[in-house]
Symmetry: C2
Subunit: 120 residues, 2 copies
């Protein structure tokens, strides 16, 4: 499978796949003409990468997940190296949720104040 086909199947672009490769997430073989050649298993890997990115992980955080998948595990998150990253990200998300919740409270208070303001 060439890069364009994998990109289509994964719902992304060749540019993006080359970016993942540059960051060590995927390592395709090369045809004689230099074209990247991917086997079907890579589709799974790319999906894993994109899911994790969508969940706010950085490309560097994702490496252990990919390694875990490549090691033959049923999912990228079942290895202890992945768990470390998962816990770190969970802490970040909790932190963010806390701050955002505070922000929301302030916003609602301010909006409430506007509505009350017209009945002095």
């Amino acid at each position: 499978m060439l890069i364009g086909e994998l990109a289509d199947r994964a719902g992304t672009s060749p540019r993006t796949l080359r970016y993942y490769e540059k960051h060590g997430l995927i390592r395709p073989r090369r045809d004689a003409n230099g074209y990247r050649q991917y086997d079907d298993a890579e589709l799974r890997v790319v999906h894993e990468i994109r899911t994790l990115l969508a969940d706010g992980f950085g490309v560097d955080d994702i490496k252990p997940f990919v390694a875990c998948l490549r090691a033959g595990n049923s999912a990228g998150h079942v290895c202890p190296e992945s768990a470390v990253v998962l816990r770190r990200r969970l802490a970040e998300v909790d932190e963010l949720l806390g701050r955002l919740t505070d922000v929301r409270e302030r916003l609602r208070d301010q909006l409430k104040e506007i509505r009350c303001q017209m009945t002095p």
Copy 2:
């Protein structure tokens, strides 16, 4: 008051104040030598700006709040123009909170799976 003093009092930097000015949030007078001259009321404005930034508003969103303060109101958020922005931001925050909550749930599920995995 010169820019350095205002920056110190507001807990920020001259660079930052010039940035706000470039984006139309503050308009200091100029001394004969070209130095920016601020009166004490600007400290209040800068605080308002920084609070809103910390709550995730963009510089352009902040203009109505500043205008509202300048118009003599007790707070920047009591004007209808501010309310429009407040509601928009509240919607964004709610959206974000929803997505982050989903992410957190997935993270916790995956961590749970790791712990269970060692007792097959």
